[in-house]
Amino acid sequence: MASNPIDQFKISKILDLQVGSFDFSFTNSALFMVVTVATTAAFLILTTSGRGLIPGKLQSLSEILYEFVANMLRDAAGAEGMKFFPLVFSLFTFILVANLFGMFPYFFTFTSHIVVTAALAFLVIGTVIVYGFYKNGIGFLKLFVPDGVPVALLPIVGLIEVISFLSRPISLSVRLFANMLAGHITLKVFAGFVTSLSSLGFLGIVGAALPLAFTVALTGLEFLVAFLQAYVFAILTCMYINDAIHPSH
């Protein structure tokens, strides 16, 4: 059973669709995005539809999710940042559910594709830039001028700050994509060791216990990473939104 650890990330067309010269085919990646959104929306709508004053278990879960994101945003960007709650909440739940779906065997993890994470990151940075200029006008550029810098150094420091700002969407998208990609490849490789070792006879089966234990441990770690990366994406979004609202450091 020679399984390529990269095969799990292959995009396959489910529904071929060509509009003009563009390829709008419905892929397995798109399918899992739809499933992710549908699951999240259905969960939140169904669990909160009871509107119990004393929440049940599932309603508590929805409320905890809301409170968690709301507190995160309020802590990082202040009460004014709550305008962006729908954005941050959607991003967090979308990434979290997508990452957790990726933990099911045979499921497709679309957050392991940089085109998806980059689109999300540029959405965030685009929002920050547009809202920053809309709210502060030209004063938004103060973001690139730290306090107490001598005038002579200002061009260099300003340029460095601009590059640092431009690197945000890259680091945001690379972090999420690389984490998911590396995690899934590692899992697959270690699981592959188990099968290939155990085909070597008795000693191989005994030796296979080690990678098996590793796979179990890595699965636990991957669940942690799935949550952590969604959290990191959301908290950094909050911090960048804070920059848009209060551009002076």
Partner: protein, 121 residues
């Protein structure tokens, strides 16, 4: 008696000074303490921190390189745009990493500053 303060009041005074300093620091840089709150929970897992710092660094260098390359391509300025912007990108990457790590370990900063202040007195 006043020349040789007993250790109990000395400790109490130190704790009070510590608290005052912490208050002063947090008043001076509310940004850092606000951001630091949530990040301490992620700092527990070392691998998350490693990913964070390395991606910040790589992104800075990549953006600098890309900008320099684009400038050379548009203005035909030879290798100079690339050379200068790779260096600037490197600087931006270091700034990124320092920001990311500074937000992750605010407690250590407090300890260092308290010690420095004690030594100065």
């Amino acid at each position: 008696m006043s020349e040789k303060p007993d250790p109990k009041t000395d400790d109490a005074a130190l704790a009070a000074r510590n608290a005052a300093l912490r208050e002063k620091l947090s008043a001076r840089s509310p940004q850092i303490t606000e951001d630091a709150g949530p990040d301490t929970s992620t700092a527990k897992s070392g691998i998350a921190q490693a990913w964070r710092l390395s991606s910040e660094f790589v992104a800075g260098v990549l953006v600098g390189t890309g900008l320099g390359w684009a400038i050379d391509w548009f203005f035909g300025t030879g290798p100079w745009g690339l050379i200068i912007f790779v260096l600037l990108g490197f600087a931006a990457a270091v700034v990124n990493v320092m920001r990311a790590s500074g937000q992750m370990a605010p407690s250590r900063l407090h300890i260092h500053q308290t010690k420095d202040e004690d030594r100065a007195e």
